[in-house]
Amino acid sequence: MSWDYFLNHSPALIIVIPLLAAFATPLIGRFSRKAMYIWITASLALTEIFSIILLYGVHTGGTMVYVMGANPYNLSVPPDSGGIPVRIILTVDSFGAFMAFTASTVALAGGIYSIACEHSQTGQEKYYALLLLMLVGMLGMVLTGDLFNFFVFLEINSLASAALVSYRIDKGVAVEAAFKYAIISSIGALAFLFGVGILYGEYDALNMAMIAQRMKFTDLDKIVMALFTVTLAMKAGAIPMHYWVPDGYGKAPGGISAMLVTASQASLYGVFRVSFTVFGLSANTLTLGWFLIILGVLSMFVGVTMALIQHDIKRLMAYHAISQTGYMLLGVGVGLATLGTAAFNQYGLAAMEGGIFHIINHAMYKGLLFLTAGAVIYRVGTSDLNKMGGLAHGMKYTTIFFMIGALSIAGIPPFNGFASKLLIYESVYQFNPLLSIIAMIVSILTLASFVKVFHSAFMGPKIYDVKEVPKSMLIGMCILTFFIILFGLFPNIAMTYLVGPAAKALANPLEYIARVLGGGA
């Protein structure tokens, strides 16, 4: 039970701990509600600690490989198998560890926030078990190196998300949103499974590295590539398939809306992982990159224009989430389009860093904004902006948190949104000036939209006699605000330890493959 032991087994433990906690939650919740809250908070905090251990391990030792059920734990290729991996391999590179850190941070904030926010609801032990399972789904998606395993965790994630969206039955409206979400994500997952089946039939492998090595890029593989990118982009909420996003985000409880953002980003991780690691070596990355860029630009523009006309605070934020997803697709898409050319080192890598940095920034500030929206709804009881007003008189801290989030999403300098958006603008400008200008215009429109929200919800005469929200909700918001300000004031910390290694790991599929297929210790 030494430090090395924990470090070596951390890829498995980070998934097992919340899973075990989720299984035990209904049993504990039956005895005492207070014990359940402590149990949930402790397991979420432990998961967060393990995600930091993963970051440390990846930073010191490079890509970590963990083979389920092998002896020893890192024997990815058994000596008598002729060089093929046979078991499920968790492959944690910098990008995966980065995503795991993002997911567990937002889950910690959302979990603590929910303690007060869902206080009066029935069935809370189910709520928290589902929250933990949703986190497990995200962690499994970002840490696994096996395509079928990815599918299984995708299903855990989408079923748990759908159930949580339906949690406030809300006269059936929330259930309608959940039904829509569940149908869309099941179709997506089935199409993904169909693609996995084709790849299995062609190459008799399910491991991403093995498939990438055997990849001949036949015409069937092109179908698979289309299936993978389209379905995962659908789950991530990119434009042509975005209809579920405002409904799902809008009807979910506050803490869950924040976690749904990270769930979408886990799907986005899937898009990037599949297009870089599985198809990156053989496919024409210029075409694939431009596909992502076009998706991104469309998402940015349509999302923000739809957001301008909304008068429901959460639907408005949901359309902004679509629009911000566009920035990530744009940044990483430029990186993919230039992969392998001289331009990659000039500005492609910087664009990818911008896109990846935007993932964590977006998770933090959009999570914070959803939490403040939940706090407003918690006190006022409506989500209609036209009926709100003057909330700043009673809810000082919430107002401050909302301002931080709004300034950050608009890319105003002292906050983290500025750091990543600047990287994207600068590098994309060298790739194609028009795209960069669109991105800036979208940013201005975002600011305009949030000024409107701020004005109609928090400013003006006092209409409601509201108090500040309970402490646990404030703590949840505080956690996310801490990271927003930290990454805003010192972007170098994030760039050196989180984002830079993640972008390099993603752009280097050969190293990933060598690490997995290189055999055991």
């Binding site: 759908a162 339906s166 039904f179 829509k180 099941s186």
Partner: protein
């Protein structure tokens, strides 16, 4: 051509499921369509592993050792259980929607946009 008969069946089943999902207005029929697509995918997975003349990969009193590929069967098993779980949850959503709306017609289940 007849060699690929299972794959053709897969395509037909999935097309039927897609038809049900796109053109039927009843929410339960949409769920049935989803289940059909899922059956198509499961049939596809299991037929990928077939080897001509192979038997089930179980050694207990087996007549020969020419066995079909076992992995697709394991994958199909997993995928079936996942499908059962999805279907159960979607049907329970349908029940709640019916309780509150009094209808399952997808043209009338539209209170989200109001």
């Amino acid at each position: 051509m007849l060699l690929n008969l299972p794959f053709i069946t897969v395509v037909i089943i999935m097309a039927l499921g897609l038809y049900a999902m796109l053109f039927k207005r009843n929410l339960i029929k949409i769920v049935i369509g989803l289940s059909l697509i899922e059956s198509g995918v499961n049939l596809f997975l299991v037929s990928l592993g077939y080897r001509n003349g192979g038997i089930a990969p179980i050694y207990t009193n087996a007549p020969s050792t020419n066995m079909v590929l076992p992995t697709p069967q394991a994958l199909t098993l997993t995928s079936i259980v996942i499908g059962v779980a999805t279907t159960a949850m979607l049907l329970s959503f349908c029940m709640v929607i019916y309780r509150h709306y009094g209808t399952l017609d997808s043209r009338k289940v539209r209170r989200l946009r109001e």
